[in-house]
Amino acid sequence: MSSADWKNYEPVLIPNVKDIHKIDVYIKNGGYSALKSVLTDKKKWADSKSVVDEVKAANIRGRGGAGFNAGLKWSFMPPADGGPRYLACNGDESEPGTFKDRKIFEYNPHVFIEGALIAAYAMQITAIYVYIRGEYLAYIKMMEKAIQDAYDKGMIGKNIFGSDYSVDFHVTYGAGAYICGEETSMLESLEGKRGYPRVKPPFPAQKGLWGRPTTINNIETLAHVPSVINRGASWFSSIGAENHPGPILYGISGHVNRPGVYELPSGIPILDLINDVAGGMKNGKKLKAVIPGGSSTPVLRADQLEGITMDSESLRTAGTMLGTAGMVVMDEDTDMVDMLWRITHFYHHESCGQCTPCREGTGWLEKIMLKIKNGNGEVKDLDLLLDITTQMEGRTICALADAAAWPVRHTITRFRDEFEARCKKSAHAVV
């Protein structure tokens, strides 16, 4: 299905089925058939590697924001040696503008559980942990119930579907820390520590949880797996944009009439998402700017949006990224200085403090932005901000410093007039 045909798309992650969150309803609608197939249909799935190959061919690009081919990531796991191996499912979603995985927890938890079980079998995992952000208490309880139900039905545990494959599945959760969405920070948190990201290499596939081979996947990424198994890699890769295929959960927030999460093919024109899907701008205001995929992805001006589609290629051409596809829409009355100050405040608050360029840099960004916001800034402060971003980017253990630097650099560059107008006029006269 092409992106242009999105109006006829039938959702698979959040299908139009009442009570699909209940395991009986899920099974009645074909649920857990993909898991059964990979475990018992030896003609179709000769071994666990054949499952990895199929998922690799589908090219499910990681939906947590990094966009890496999930099957390829699975193939990095070393051969099984009889010791423990882990799958850690990342449900920490905390990037401002992102609120999609919670819809899977709430409306269709079993599609994620089934996907995680297939992934676990494919990589010969011995235990699965799903890490959910602590604020999502309601969804944590839902997941705990869904996993217990799956245990009770024999979908999790010993000798699933009579096969020789056994695995355990545990719910675990955080307690308020954006950084724990970074995959190695999440591993530290899972191990009961402060969420300090780890230096890579070694990569988690070599040394992950408790020093053992571990793969980390986003919730939505894993939720795509059952339909890839049922319908084939070619079905998945034929949906939406060629280089970034498949359905995507778009989260749309900000100044639109119908904010929310929408499951649609990748590669939809940004303007269609705003004007058709999300019901257009609130109160008939004009569109000013869009952050396409969470607060760290560079903002685009309204005049940069023509012909741009929601996939990594097109967005790269426009000078931004798909990220988590959590789109934030801003109308003509939005104060870009205030908006950027709030983003710098967020990253300063969430820096774990491990690396100096990030710990100090995010603080400087916020302080200077506050000065500008309060009308005490000078034009030279804008160039100082840009300079700081280059001192932060790529100089830290994890990508939080990059995530903090990009919005500063691109919001100032793309709305320079507005920032200069907020700076002290006398500054222009000072040489």
Partner: protein, 176 residues
């Protein structure tokens, strides 16, 4: 004050420990058990967690202070965490925060004298499409706030009436 876990708590802690190959991963969940029991994890409670798990106090203190949802001091009965981050900022999160400061007669970060309410400004809670919103004591989300809805909520909480869990239907999802 002496803090002790109840028998049920200790049973739950055993169940938590069984999930992991080591004891240390139980730190976060057991801090949660403690906070649910005592309402906070003051240093004395952190010591109890350390003693119960046989872990260094410094480790438990380090973890408790890293994560914002653990209350390192006593809070009001209802902790109102108002999101003002990005989407909530754009949709009026600061108006809600200011309105609550006025209504409750406290500044953000403070607790009312009767110990009923603590008001906080927090970072993104992942409810961007339903902004502005707040969370009550690490539990229920109250979405799409207006001044009227906020006033109604405060009236309810004053009478110790808990609001319902709010389900939000997926737009375009016509349930069969």
């Amino acid at each position: 004050m002496e803090y002790e876990f109840t028998k049920e708590d200790l049973k739950e802690i055993e169940k938590i420990k069984a999930k992991y190959p080591e004891v240390m991963p139980a730190t976060l969940p057991v801090l949660w058990v403690a906070q649910n029991r005592f309402g906070h994890v003051e240093p004395e409670v952190q010591r109890l967690v350390a003693k119960t798990l046989g872990l260094p106090e410094a480790h438990v203190h380090g973890v408790a202070t890293f994560y914002t949802q653990y209350y390192k001091e006593k809070k009001g009965k209802y902790v109102l965490d108002v999101c003002t981050c990005l989407s909530c900022q754009l949709c009026g999160g600061y108006d809600i925060l200011e309105h609550l400061e006025k209504t409750l007669g406290i500044k953000k970060g403070e607790t009312t004298q009767d110990g009923k309410f603590t008001l906080n400004e927090v970072e993104c809670l992942g409810a961007c499409g339903y902004a502005p919103m707040l969370q009550i004591t690490n539990d229920k989300y109250i979405n799409n706030l207006t001044v009227e809805k906020t006033d109604k909520l405060i009236d309810m909480l004053k009478k110790d009436e808990e609001p319902e869990y709010e389900e939000i239907e997926m737009p375009l999802r016509k349930v069969k």
